[in-house]
């Protein structure tokens, strides 16, 4: 923690950056923080409650951050994949951000909880996560816990669902999709959803019906899943912020596994690694095509 | 000490026991321990291969399955024929899930096909530096014709390509490390007649004699082999070649392990030098006096050969 604060203080006092984006202690647990003065660096914390994917603040959709000019960001290994994605898709110039990597052995599901990190409380995405530090970082600080070996509960649920007859899967998702109120929190929090004008807001033509019934919701979540295919970094933020508790992570994770199996691709924290959708191999499998 | 699984095969416990004797004699010096596959059974050889594909895969698979259950990651099969059968079985099971299922049902084992099969060349090739270092009695003037035959380096799909199938070099490298001088010759990949020694001796005589003649023309003092079947055809059958007028003279035929053993100064008797049909005395004479204790070794070998001859 001291290491992190000293580094942040130095970057701010030397004028390398105008702000450091990290976490601080809030009234209800850890919360994102913008530190703009060297003294403010002491507010910074990093521990297992620092769940949020701060990369979404780098999105060009957040002009207030852009106005700050060059910033530093505290970076978990998983967030590094999102930053790499933003660099890859020309949303963030690499030279505009200083990345302070923190070594990480897992975070909890809920940043507001005061639970300690344990097998019971750890976020599902951390199960089996092999990365203790992000390779993209300019500086790396702190120490990491041992991490949590798998298996992911979501992966188990996906298998469970996949094993059921299609009509039961349909019923399951109908029940879930009916709950969606189209608040678009999933979109707002997603670091990879950075369009100025979302497809869902386009009216001519309107591909996605705007009223929150299952049919429009279906179109929305299908579109979201397709847009994130091969781009989703599995930060779990969409599911965490969903006020209706829809298990969105099941969809993104399912698609991630499809992409991994078919195209041997896993989200990378190397911006030079191309995403699998937008490229192809002449011998891609095509068993489903007559 | 590296441990490696060991599949002797029937020949090394029978007609070619000098191959096993010399192998066991040199591995200690190479800091290697052979862990024999428990209760191993015959690989099926060319007879299973010529009769039933399934049999030719399942018999080797039993041995690989046992090795797997012993926790052995790799198994050395010094006999080139056993190596070919084991490695082929491994390769075929790997590429054919139906066959893998079939084999597992017959064996009633949970065989995962994880064991790699290694030839003697592959194993010794990795030890060239050690062989060179341990060669207290390098075979300085011994000109050897390294004979690969058919099964050691091909097909590449089965061998994994540890050596070039058309222009191999591993045996020459090993012999060089032992101080011998490999000659350049042309028939080192030709077939000796293989398993037809008993059933079609005439063919074996024709093919093996051509090999020996070429080795002789290239100036070789001895032919080096790594296969009991090749050894028996080239050594044991020399008499038949002479009788049929296909070959004159005596060409000693040595196992590669014996060449390495001699260079290490191991007692020729331990290496089974006396078990050959064609006397190896000329070889011993050539290597005499080049290293410590070689003289006595040579004498002993001569004595042994004399006894049985």
């Amino acid at each position: 923690m001291t290491e992190l604060r000293e580094l942040a203080r130095r970057l701010l006092s030397e004028g390398t950056v105008n702000a450091v984006l990290g976490w601080e202690e809030g009234p209800r647990g850890a919360r994102p923080a913008f530190v703009t003065t060297p003294d403010g660096a002491d507010r910074l914390i990093f521990d297992h409650r620092c769940v949020h994917n701060l990369a979404s603040y780098l999105s060009p959709r957040r002009p207030h951050l852009k106005r700050l000019g060059k910033v530093a960001m505290v970076l978990k290994p998983c967030d590094a994949r999102a930053v790499a994605g933003l660099i890859r898709e020309t949303q963030v110039p690499r030279e505009n951000v200083v990345l302070i990597g923190v070594r990480c052995g897992g975070v909890v599901t809920d940043p507001d909880s005061d639970a300690t990190l344990s097998e019971a409380t750890v976020a599902d995405r951390c199960r089996g996560c092999p990365d203790r530090e992000g390779k993209l970082a300019d500086h790396t600080v702190g120490t990491a816990g041992p991490g949590f070996p798998g298996p992911s509960h979501r992966a188990q649920k996906i298998e469970e669902l996949a094993a059921k007859p299609a009509d039961q899967r349909w019923a399951f998702w109908q029940a879930e999709l009916e709950k969606c109120v189209r608040c678009h929190a999933c979109r707002q929090v997603c670091p990879m959803c950075f369009c100025d004008r979302c497809l869902a807001d386009k009216t001519q033509p309107r591909w996605i019906e705007s009223s929150p019934h299952a049919r429009g919701n279906m179109a929305w979540h299908v579109a979201r899943a397709m847009h994130l295919a091969g781009r989703c970094v599995d930060c779990g933020e969409c599911e965490r912020v969903c006020p209706q508790g829809i298990p969105l992570g099941l969809i993104t994770r399912k698609i991630a596994s499809v992409v991994a199996e078919r195209y041997d691709f896993r989200p990378s924290d190397d911006p030079a690694v191309p995403a699998p959708v937008g490229t192809y191999r002449m011998d891609d499998p095509q068993e489903f095509i007559l | 000490m590296t441990k490696i699984g060991y599949f002797p095969g029937c020949s090394l416990h029978g007609l070619s026991r000098e191959y096993e004797e010399s192998l066991k004699a040199i591995v200690a010096g190479l800091d290697t321990e052979l862990v024999e596959v428990d209760d191993w059974s015959c690989c099926g050889a060319s007879s299973a291969h010529g009769t039933s594909h399934l049999l030719a895969v399942t018999l080797p698979a039993r041995n690989l399955a046992i090795a797997e259950s012993q926790g052995l990651p790799e198994v050395l099969a010094p006999c080139a024929a056993c190596y070919a059968r084991l490695a082929s079985a491994r390769h075929e099971i790997e590429g054919d899930t139906d066959l893998a299922g079939h084999v597992n049902r017959i064996l009633v084992r949970d065989f995962k096909n994880t064991v790699k099969v290694r030839s003697i060349l592959e194993v010794l090739k990795g030890q060239v530096a050690t062989i060179k270092a341990k060669a207290t009695n390098p075979l300085k003037d011994l000109k050897v014709a390294c004979y690969y035959g058919c099964l050691l380096v091909r097909p590449v799909e089965v061998t994994g390509g540890y050596d070039d199938p058309e222009d191999p070099s591993s045996m020459e490298d090993i012999c060089k490390a032992a101080g011998a001088v490999p000659v350049k010759w042309n028939r080192r990949l030709d077939c000796c007649g293989g398993g037809m020694s008993m059933s079609r001796t005439g063919s074996v005589v024709r093919l093996s004699a051509a090999i020996l003649k070429d080795a002789k023309a290239a100036g070789a003092d001895a032919v080096v082999v790594a296969c009991p079947m090749c050894h028996s055809n080239l050594d044991f059958r020399q008499k038949a070649m002479q009788q049929r007028g296909a070959w004159e003279g005596d060409m000693p035929v040595l196992f590669l392990t014996q060449v390495v053993g001699l260079s290490m100064g191991i007692d020729p008797k331990t290496l089974g030098m006396g078990r050959h049909f064609v006397s190896t005395n000329s070889v011993m004479a050539r290597t005499a006096g080049t290293g410590s204790g070689a003289g006595t070794g040579t004498n002993k070998a001569t004595a042994v050969a004399g006894e049985v001859g």
Binding site: T90, C195, L199, P205 | P165, N186
Partner: protein, 673 residues
Amino acid sequence: MARIGVFVCHCGENIGRTVDCHAVAEGCKDVPGVVHSVDYKYMCSDPGQQMVKKAIEEKGLTGVVVAACSPHMHEKTFRRAAAGAGLNAFLCEMANVREHCSWIHEDREKATVKAIDITRTIIEKVKHNVPLSTIRIPVTRRALVIGGGIAGIQAALDIADGGREVILVEKGPSIGGHMSQLSETFPTLDCSQCILTPRMVEVYQHPRIKLYAYSEVESVEGYIGNFKVTVRRKARSVDEEKCNGCGACTQVCPNKKIPSEFDCGLGKRTAIYVPFPQAVPNLPTVDRNKCLLFMNRAKGRPDTCKKCAEACEKGAIDFDQQDRLITEDVGAIVVATGYQLYTIGKDQPKDNLKGYGEYGYGTIPDVIDGLQFERLASASGPTSGKILRPSDGKVPKRIVFLQCIGSRDPQKGMEYCSKICCMYVAKHTMLYHHKVHDGVATVFYMDIRAAGKGYEEFSRRAIEEEGAQYIRGRVSRMWREGDVIKILGFDTLEGEPIEMDADMVVLATAMRPQPGIDVLAQKLSVSYDQHGFINEAHPKLRPVETNTAGIYVAGACQAPRDIPDAVAMASATASKVLGLFANEMLEREPTVARVDEGTCAGCFHCERVCAYGAVEHKDIKDRAGNVVRVIAYVNPGVCQGCGTCEATCPSKSVELQGFTDEQIWSEIQALGV
């Protein structure tokens, strides 16, 4: 408000027999926006077209739907008719009720319902059609030809003779290519140099050809009609302006033992050299890897030698010359980079190429390839045209030719047939017999492929009149024993194994594209196959075009080709180029993508999926000139109109004209329950 006219065609009985055309016309009348709906026997006939024109004029139509045959049949016809009546051609669309309906169904009722569906779908689409106009792009009427072999020479001469300027870029020090290495050519046995040299000189002297020899294409930007090409003029270390080609420098060069590339290693050259006497341009080049002065420089030692510079009266030797980059604007590019031969050695450029261990991996000295034999047989070659074997200079009395080495061999070489080997092997046996009267030429072959004018006659002559021994079968192994080469083969016609002694063996090795073709193809954004051959746009109908508009392909870089093929292709590219250059402006269908600058997020997914490199980055600046956003821009000159970008764009900020989301959405809506 849309005013759509619907015209239903009976096509005689073709549509009318199964579809109730009148019912279709009636069924479309109640579609909102339709103000006119009629049926007629033959819509494509003159009176039919008049009906359309008249309705446009009288009813003030804003869109026309012709329910008739496939748009591939008559879309142009009706669009022209609409344009004739003053309606933008792209406001007219066809509903395919013949091929997709009346011809494939028998049930009249069902077919009529379907025809109405189809027509209504297109009506909904047309409501969202917008007037489009043909795109016009200016054309720079100069061409670039890459490769100075016979194909490149022919293309350059034809284009230049057609009145347009040509830049000819050749990688090596001289043009002429492989043809300049050949002795005589099949099937006429005329001297290769004799027919080629005049053409080379013509290139050099042509007022409209700018020759850049010893140069390579560095980069290519732009699109059809508007390419910007950067050429790297490699340093020859010789001042072209000063040199008079006297050759004094090459005489004094002390390093005389360098294997000559032109003689395929059979002859020697100096470090400063002219590759062959007829070279164009006739300029020496310093091989900096072999020149003593440069070798010393590389080791940090002071300059020594300089014998060539001392011998040069003109002071043309310039050891400090640097590579120069030159930019040229051209409107079309011809790729004619030619071929190389497969080598049988152990080191191969690709995993699937293995070389031939059974033939000694190229280590047997008297086993040579076809081009080496050409040099032996050539009067200007290292042996002055005598057939002498490389190992000891003796005349080989028994010569064996092996065909299909590396060709038709998916295991170790190429699966394709190299096409020219059958013919040049037949030629080689003849040249051999002409020069070695008591010699025996034996050929191991699989098939004799002599499909060409005079080819079969030629190969029969080699066998029937000149005594070549043809054995049908391949050779399993080959090795050297003493000074003979032992050959283990099989005669499949006799059914006998053959063990044969030869004094020399000539391998007819496969033709492959030049090394580095992939890099060049990527620079040009043209596609190539797994072997590296440049892909033609269509194997039958567009054989000399590539998938990138404005780039053409000639000769053996497209597939194995003989000289007549390569020359024919080259002339074909020239005619394509001259056709393109016939007008100052190029007209293009307006089916291209456009970016909505207001909503583009600049993620460039479109750029990644564009097969043509049509997507560019565009800076959006504020009033002070600062770049505030970078967004995508589709170059209409390059876009081919596939629409993959639009399907990929997450925010739907790019639209393909003629197939916009709104148009397709309307079609899907129209099919609704």
